[in-house]
């Protein structure tokens, strides 16, 4: 029931916000998110870490018997940690909206809470249709958040965001329904949308069928991640969204895609994912490098961080398609770490925007002398994002690359095989050292663009936009949501803003210095997922080696 509570608390909060006067909206939202956070911590304590790969706190109730659709929730350690992340970012989002959102507060906080409920639902679902419902329903609150409280180009950003993701997910739905139909057809008309049940029958599909399923599912989930050719909605949505929207988008919404790939693509198209891993990993690497290069030429700080998400999620996907323990573990850790550090970067940029109403690097510079506290945090989170050893980014980035490096007994594909013999420590998988090597250049690019940005904005000579000297704010702000509250903000961060950032910083440090507890919790679930992929790929109807129209031996 604790999972149902985690979904219901924000929903009830939203209802409460909707019926109570506008002045108390923020307090109610804060309360609801804090309660949800507390409950999620209780859940984390009660979680049985010896059975981390099993679905715990499971609750199921029938819904549509004709389809075997149930309201069924449960978590293993992978979904558990993502729910924790979601619940942690809840109060952060409310806190960072205090002065930024002054109009239509009731609507704002209600939808923010609905969004949290939907995201929690995605991670908690054990039923495909329930998952899809929550997955799709995240679009509505985000659409509203962007189009009501975004900056100047918000309408276009919101529409683009919605249409991209909706189109993708409708095609993904077709793929998911095909998997369910296949199960029903095999089992004589017993429909089920239970994820584990479907996973167990997915290897009955031929490699060809799995290929189509993979394509359909990736059409939906790759857009959400976003993977390289379908990433174009993300920078726009990030740039236009209000701060809290960007934090949620980077922190959790993108992880819906990666999580879905891990859960569903791995489960329903095992043979195909093994076969197409090199292609998908290549796309990820293109995203890493292309995203990084674009970051380099950005002058808008927020856009820079947005594009850096494309690059970072590239690492996450690369680790995932390594299809081995360290790769997938790194990938899951990356989901959490990226949520923490990039979420924090968006918070920091939001704080600057509230003060100066600009995000242009041309108008900002040398803020260290003016805002030492802000600058400290900025440098800290940039380092976390770059992957400085000792901070969280390093752990996951290293694991992802290690996974890719080891993911084959050969050096790579084709001609490179002649370079060296079999590698020590190699695991099953279709990638190889060259993938890790090329992705590694992305780390360097990331260091360059992020440090360049930091050098410009934090150090250097003090540069403030005209009319925004110390203590005089508020003459030109385009967005609807930036009204009269600037004057309450001090030059440097106030206590609320520091309190918002400190937990994120502490977690970054903790996950960087001592990731062992988290790694230990995740390992059983991750190795379970990896093992299942390889086993099911091996038992799929057409063995890949045969490559023909055979049946299962």
């Amino acid at each position: 029931m604790i999972l149902v509570a985690l979904i219901l608390i924000p929903l009830l909060g939203a209802l409460l916000v909707a019926v109570s006067p506008s002045g108390s909206s923020r307090a109610i939202a804060m309360m609801a998110t804090l309660v949800a956070l507390a409950v999620s911590v209780v859940a984390a304590v009660k979680f049985d870490y010896h059975q981390a790969q099993a679905m715990q706190f499971a609750v199921a109730a029938p819904w549509f018997d004709q389809f075997g659709i149930t309201f069924s929730v449960g978590v293993d350690s992978i979904s558990g940690i993502l729910i924790l992340l979601t619940c942690l970012l809840g109060p952060v989002c409310v806190a960072c909206s205090t002065t930024a959102i002054t109009e239509r507060q009731k609507t704002y906080y209600a939808w923010l809470l609905v969004l949290q409920a939907a995201m929690t639902g995605v991670f908690a679902s054990r039923d495909l249709v329930l998952f899809y419902i929550c997955f799709e329903f995240t679009l509505i609150p985000m659409f509203i958040l962007i189009s009501l409280w975004g900056s100047t180009n918000r309408k276009r950003a919101a529409i683009k965001f919605f249409l991209y993701t909706f189109t993708g997910s409708v095609i993904a739905l077709a793929g998911l329904v095909y998997v369910a139909w296949h199960h029903a057809d095999m089992s004589g008309g017993n429909w089920s949308f239970d994820i584990l049940t479907l996973r167990d029958s997915a290897d009955d599909m031929t490699a060809r069928e799995q290929g189509w399923v993979l394509l359909a599912l990736m059409a939906g989930f790759a857009v959400k991640v976003p993977l390289f050719p379908v990433h174009t909605w993300l920078p726009l949505a990030h740039t236009e969204a209000p701060t809290a929207g960007s934090v949620v988008l980077a922190g959790v919404l993108l992880k819906l895609g990666t999580y879905a790939i891990l859960r569903f693509v791995f489960a329903f198209a095992p043979a195909a994912v093994v076969e197409y891993a090199p292609l998908l990993a290549t796309l990820s690497i293109v995203g890493i490098i292309y995203g990084g290069l674009i970051c380099w030429v950005q002058t808008d700080v927020k856009k820079l961080v947005a594009y850096s998400s494309v690059a970072h999620l590239g690492f996450c996907m690369l680790g995932m398609f390594a299809l081995n323990g360290s790769g997938v573990l790194g990938s899951v850790l990356y989901m959490v770490n990226h949520g923490l550090s990039t979420g924090a970067l968006f918070l920091l940029i939001g704080m600057i925007y509230e003060r100066y109403h600009t995000r242009s690097m041309k108008e900002l510079g040398g803020l260290a002398s003016k805002m030492p506290v802000w600058s400290t945090f900025m440098v800290f989170f940039v380092m976390a994002s770059v992957g400085l050893p000792g901070l969280n980014g390093f752990v996951s980035e290293f694991l992802c690359m290690k996974g890719a490096f080891q993911a084959s007994s050969a050096w790579g594909s084709g001609v490179w095989n002649s370079v060296g013999g079999p590698l020590p420590g190699a695991t099953a998988g279709n990638l190889g050292p060259w993938y890790a090597f090329i992705a590694g250049t992305g780390v360097i690019i990331a260091a360059m663009y992020l440090l360049y940005m930091t050098g410009k904005v934090v150090w250097g000579t003090l540069l403030e936009p005209a009319g925004h000297g110390h203590g005089s704010h508020g003459s030109h702000g385009g967005g609807v949501s930036h009204g009269s509250h600037e004057s309450v903000l001090p030059a440097d961060l106030n206590r609320r803003e520091i309190l918002t950032l400190v937990p994120l910083a502490a977690l970054c440090l903790f996950l960087g210095l001592y990731p062992k507890p988290v790694v230990d919790a995740l390992t059983p679930a991750v190795s379970n997922a990896v093992r299942t992929v390889h086993e099911n790929a091996a038992t799929s109807r057409v063995p890949l080696a045969a490559g023909g129209e055979g049946v299962r031996p």
């Binding site: 419902i133 189109t167 029903a184």
Partner: protein, 556 residues
């Protein structure tokens, strides 16, 4: 013949109500006249209850040896749905006609003049159309089907014409009438060919003839022509041209009526005709190729492997794909809400055609018929909600006393701020039409997906998916204009019409969209039994052979 009565209690109840309404509506006492709508509502409720209680189903239906045995349980489900959605539609019709006239009478400016009043006729036509629709559901012969379809349609021509005082309504009525007559002529011609090819107008006997002797070329031509003609009723390409103009010209509450009633009639008729043509046959055998069917003249029943004769399937396939795509793409270009909804209604017909192509199966999730039947209910509720919002809004009366209706997208801007209830109904119903989970529209579309996948119509599934995405664009506009946008300063204020039942209709629809999504599982059980075909495979019992007629035995 007398046993047919067992199927007709709801229609009889509706007919009696109609007669009462025609008299009461002409009363000289205003209070009595005002009770007309209430009586019509009562009649619909009684008809619905009667349909639920008295309609023979299953084995009972076979005992009666009456009615069609192809889809023996169709009548009960459809009639209950018709009564339910009909009641919703009735709520929205309040004050459509005689509004100015009654206002003048109340003010004492004019005495009651039966010749000027339209109320009695309007409600009578409304009920007649519903009666026709119910008769469609229990039709067992082509002649019956034709008469029922015409009884459904003829009143709507007049309802469109008198629905508002604008010339546009008259134009729409005339256009609708002539094109409707053309459509009727086409499917009547098809029915005639079917009779020519099989020697019977009885659907059971036609089915028997097809399964015994195959479909000869005359009957095949008849099938194709009747499907084409019925496309007019469901507003499918290429018979869709009237839709946008007629919906735009009619008052919104009448457009809402048109979006459900003729469409449901068309789909029932299509289901009956198609189930006579195929569907009963077991899957698995190789389907005859199109050229075989076209050249061979006669196709043996045993050769049918696919759910439908290939040429019929191909025709439906093309119509479905075109209907979805054209409807959605043209809906993108509209600025009028009614035209948008009209094109979207075309698109929804295309979605439902996918279910018809998938055909029947043994479980709800696989049966295309069940999907269509459930979708008809979902679509009826959702689209009535959107039209009800339009009907409940109006600008204050102009110099002619006629309140002007609200039809431009821009009029909906910021609606939620001034009319929160109607704004939210618009948002909910539009999102449901879009198919966004967890609203009703999603659970309507899901069986279409599953049944089409079961029938291995993968390309159609993709077309359906892409079209749902195209539709997102204009439904998002409809859903969020009221909620997110600010009212334009220069656009005149939009108020609520003085008929609370229209608002009630809108609210009930929106509530239905949510409630049915939660308890939909129960409904689906009923739908599945309604979608049961008389014979799943093998020979058909309880059908007299065609030659029975010639030997002088009494026909069924």
């Amino acid at each position: 013949m007398i046993e047919r009565l067992a199927y007709m209690y709801p229609e009889i109840a509706l007919f009696i109500t109609t007669c009462v309404v025609m008299v009461v509506g002409l009363s000289r006492v205003q209070a009595t006249r005002n009770a007309t709508a209430v009586m019509a509502g009562l009649g619909i409720v009684i008809a619905g209850v009667l349909a639920f209680v008295t309609t023979p189903t299953g084995a009972d239906a076979a005992d009666k040896a009456a009615g069609q045995v192809l889809l023996p349980n169709l009548a009960m489900y459809m009639k209950v749905v018709i009564a339910g959605v009909g009641l919703l539609l009735l709520l929205v019709q309040a004050g459509t006609v005689d509004r100015v006239e009654e206002g003048l009478i109340s003010a004492g400016a004019r005495g009651y003049d039966a010749l000027r009043a339209n109320r009695a006729e309007y409600y009578a036509f409304f009920l007649f159309s519903l009666t026709g629709l119910m008769l469609c559901a229990s039709a067992d012969s082509l002649i019956w089907l034709f008469l029922a379809l015409e009884l459904t349609s003829l009143p709507t021509y007049i309802m469109v014409t008198i629905s508002s005082a604008r010339n546009k309504s008259r134009e729409a009525g005339v256009k609708y009438f002539f094109l409707g007559a053309l459509g009727a002529a086409v499917f009547l011609y098809g029915f005639a060919l079917l009779y020519g090819g099989t020697g019977s107008t009885n659907l059971n006997q036609i089915a028997f003839s097809f399964s015994a002797h195959g479909i000869n070329s005359i009957a095949m031509a008849g099938l194709l022509v009747s499907i084409l003609g019925l496309c007019f009723k469901i507003a499918a390409v290429p018979m869709h041209f009237y839709t946008a103009d007629v919906y735009e010209g009619a008052a919104p509450q009448v457009s809402g009526f048109l979006a459900f009633v003729p469409k449901a009639a068309g789909f029932i008729a299509l289901m009956l005709v198609l189930s006579a043509a195929g569907w009963r046959f077991e899957r698995g055998a190789a389907a005859p190729s199109l050229s075989d069917v076209l050249q061979g003249g006669v196709t043996r029943a045993s050769e049918f492997g696919h759910s439908l004769p290939e040429s019929v399937r191909l025709m439906l396939w093309v119509i479905a794909a075109l209907t979805m795509t054209i409807g959605n793409v043209l809906a993108l270009l509209q600025t009028s809400v009614k035209r948008t909804l009209a094109y979207s209604s075309i698109a929804h017909s295309g979605y439902m055609l996918v279910g018809l192509i998938a055909g029947p199966a043994d479980s709800f999730a696989r049966s295309g018929i069940a999907a269509v039947l459930f979708y008809l209910l979902s679509y009826g509720v959702m689209s009535t909600g959107t039209f009800a919002v339009l009907a409940a809004l109006e600008r204050r009366a102009g110099p002619d006393g006629e309140a002007r209706e609200v039809d431009q997208m821009d009029d909906l801007r910021g609606l939620t701020a001034t009319q929160p209830v109607l704004g939210w109904v618009m948002t909910i119903c539009s999102l449901s039409l879009l198919g966004l989970p967890p609203l009703l529209g999603f659970f309507g579309k899901l069986p279409l997906f599953t049944s089409a996948i079961h029938a291995k119509e993968y390309v159609l599934v993709v077309v359906l998916g892409i079209n749902s995405a195209i539709a997102a664009f204009y439904y998002l506009r409809l859903a969020f204009l009221p909620f997110l946008e600010k009212k334009d300063e220069f656009v005149e204020v939009v108020g609520v019409s003085p008929f609370p039942s229209r608002v009630l209709g809108a609210v009930v629809s929106a509530a239905g969209v949510i409630v049915l999504a939660v308890v939909g599982g129960r409904v689906m059980d009923t739908v599945q039994s309604a979608a049961t075909t008389g014979v799943q495979a093998g020979p058909m019992p309880a059908i007299e052979p065609v030659h029975a007629k010639t030997t002088g035995e009494p026909g069924v």
